[in-house]
Amino acid sequence: MNGDRAGQSRDRQGAVSRLVVGRNVRKVDGVKLVTGGAAFTDDVHIPGMLHGKILPSPHAHARIRRIDTSKAKALAGVHAVLTYKDVPRVPHTTAGQAWPEPSPHDTYLLDSKVRFVGDRVAAVAAESRAIAERALKLIEVEYEILPAVLDMEQAMAAGAPVIHDEPDSTKIYDRQRNIAGYILREIGSVEQGFAEADHIFERQYRTQRQQHCPIEPHVTICWLDADARLVIRTSTQVPYHCRRQVAMILQIPVSRVHVVKPRIGGGFGGKQEMLLEDICGALALASRRPVKIEYTREEEFYMARSRHPQILRMKMGVKRDGTVVASQLTVLATTGAYGSHSTTVQGNTGSKVLPLYRAAHMRFECHVVYTNAPVAGAFRGYGCPQGFFAQETLVDEIACELGMDPMDFHRNNVIRLGDTDLLSAQLGEGKEGLPRLVRSCGLPQCMESAARAIGWTQKRKSLPNGHSHLRRGVGMACTMQGSGIAGVDWASAFLKMNEDGSFFLQVGASDVGAGADTVLSQIAAETLGVTLDKVIITSGDTDITPFDVGAYASSTTIISGGAVKKAAARVRSQVLELASKMLDAPVDQLDCANNEIFTTCACRKSVSMTDLAMQAMYKEKLQIMDGASHFNTDSPPPFCATFAEVEVDTETGQVRVVHLATAVDPGTAINPMQAEGQVEGAVAQGLGYALTEELLLDAAGRPVNPNFLDYKMFGAQDMPKLTTILVETDEPLGPYGAKSISEVPINGPAPAIANAIFHAVGVRIRKLPIRPEDVLRALHAERPANLEEELLTQ
């Protein structure tokens, strides 16, 4: 491994002494999930609850000339009908980001203009879903249909229809040219770098509109409680941002809003949005009744969010020996009709992707344009899957051109321990960021272990392809991500002790199904020296739990976990202080484990947590409790190596992934079983991104395939053999050495598969998803002479 210290090995002794962290414990919320407990947003009956429905725009771009709701209002069972005339006009973003949100404030609760098929025209609340649906049909709307622009390459052209011509939107980069955001950053001088290079490679790549497809669609229930405060029970990743945004949009004080996040049926970034809460709240206020809005599956596909489609131009300059000297990525992306997460997702496409290579010269330029298409937003990977598809496919091409094993190319060029990534310093969350120092790096071991799993060395040399039309190949990709947004993401936690020696843990962190409640409980239990059952967690309730930005940017384990560890350490000090009194021993000779505080000296005195709790409460009159806030000024990257073996049918173009090996460096895996689950889930979504998933629009901007039959996600039978490897390192900035894991593995499948296809049949596919027809077309256009001969001799 080039003599470098490729990563810090885990402190084995430390690991052995840990009783809860690093263990495969069951999910703390698992029992209610396997028994069908009423745990999700919609699992409540509220007397008098109405059903809300949104009237979606049938046009991609139109002005509402006239809207008449009188017939809808007159329908028996209808309690509220809202149009833009009835609600406050507050420009905002639906992106659930820290204030001030870097996304353009270009969205309105309801507007007199609609900007995509599915945009809100009106909303109703009625006594049943059927009545609500009937009421929607009774709303008379006269549209002035405007020319629409759906092709992102046409959006900036002179004469293109202006999508945001309203004067009150803010933070739009150039509304006249439909540019939501623009980014240009450079370190060193790419001009100089390319001049120094012996070879320059430049290619264009395209990526598609992918949908999150949480099995639980977006759902929100709003009501006024006995104090007339607005309660919002909602499937969100960002309860606190949601509270702030809804209060602003509905023009009520934050203190009058109470957001409750129950169990969430998957988020993946799609619920890092304030999506239904504002309109549902408005309907509840208008009707003075509880109101539920639940997207149907079809609505979820085009009225929720998706991954930003991009066109990427990647250019790299290398020395003869394969050393990368300069890299440049130029991106055109579309955010659809509204700029949710527009500059931040695209900023990541540069800042988290280019620094994987140690080039001295890097340049990233990006235009994010509006189109009259469904809105893009946050999606697991957050701009990285697009960027890594381009970069890792180009790198493979360069290695092959130079006659190098792609593994060697990576070994020589990738970022390593002790390196500082300067591009991140220039590209923060919508502003200047902070430099990233690599304090832990298991990437070399990730590569070696995943390569072994796939049988790289042997299979790169020879695969038993013979003359068959089924040809095998192997490919690889290396990727990284962040762990929280440096200097922006922060979290807090609060702990209090109960009479039985258990602890209530309150965190604003939002478990959306990935297991945050379990991991945070493990961190608390480990720090307090109690067993996991002694920690009872409440998460994501703005009335009860302290602040947290929410579940995004791979931040929960490292940032919220950091807050929990800090709070638990403070509570532990209080416990030890009292124990010191009870045991007549100095604090520095005390330790706690397994629900007991004991002296570390030979005398072996001890007191149980329960006895100590009773002493605190009824003798000392002391509530043992404390809280803490936490943030980091750096975002330690988790690393990942993805290796794929594919089989390509040269007669049909069908690509079958035979085996996918993923090795990830997450720092310490607080719960290895859950960490593996994060990898495998990300890989499944990455496989769909690579091969099958795309939300298609027709020429009028209408969704073509908004259902699970026509939008193909990987099912249990479609999955290849998966190998999941955790390469643990010890991250100094993370609780117990943890970084993050949930996003990084989604980046690798697409480039690894594209590279394996090249290895198998010698064609480069630079567009996602890689459909059989694309492979077949490429095979006919680019079939290399030797392969042609081989096939002819059959």
Partner: protein, 169 residues
Amino acid sequence: MKNMELHLTVNGESLNWTIAPGELLLDVLRRQGYFGVKRGCEKGECGACAVLLDGMPINSCLMFAAQAEGRQILTIEGVADGGKLDPMQEAFLDHGAVQCGFCTGGMVLSAKALLERRPDPTEEEVREMLAGHLCRCTGYRKPVEAVLAAASKKRNTARRMKPVAEVVR
């Protein structure tokens, strides 16, 4: 349209409900408080609303409630024996097969039905069964492992139990 009476058994309990003729079984079950039956697509594509109808898995979004007249329904709420989890539920927890949990109920029910038919299923058979259940969280590897582990445990237990079972018979 006139409401109608529905007589059925849910989780061993004999029930009489008043329903509207066009109502889906999914909607009626949820209205009656069986929230473990999930609404994921309403088109029979995702499997989150699966229940066992006389022991066979069906998507409750594709069936009129009226068609359940006189039938036995098992929902995920009826799988555990009081406070004691079913071995399939234990296996899902122990193998990390539950993430968000929204698809879990349907998977557990279908898996139980599979083991009734095929006590010793192959991985292929397990995957074929799970193909009716979309999961966006797990990548299916851990659910497959959980079902295979539960099957293996059930066979071992059955082997140990055999003499007793014979006596009872």
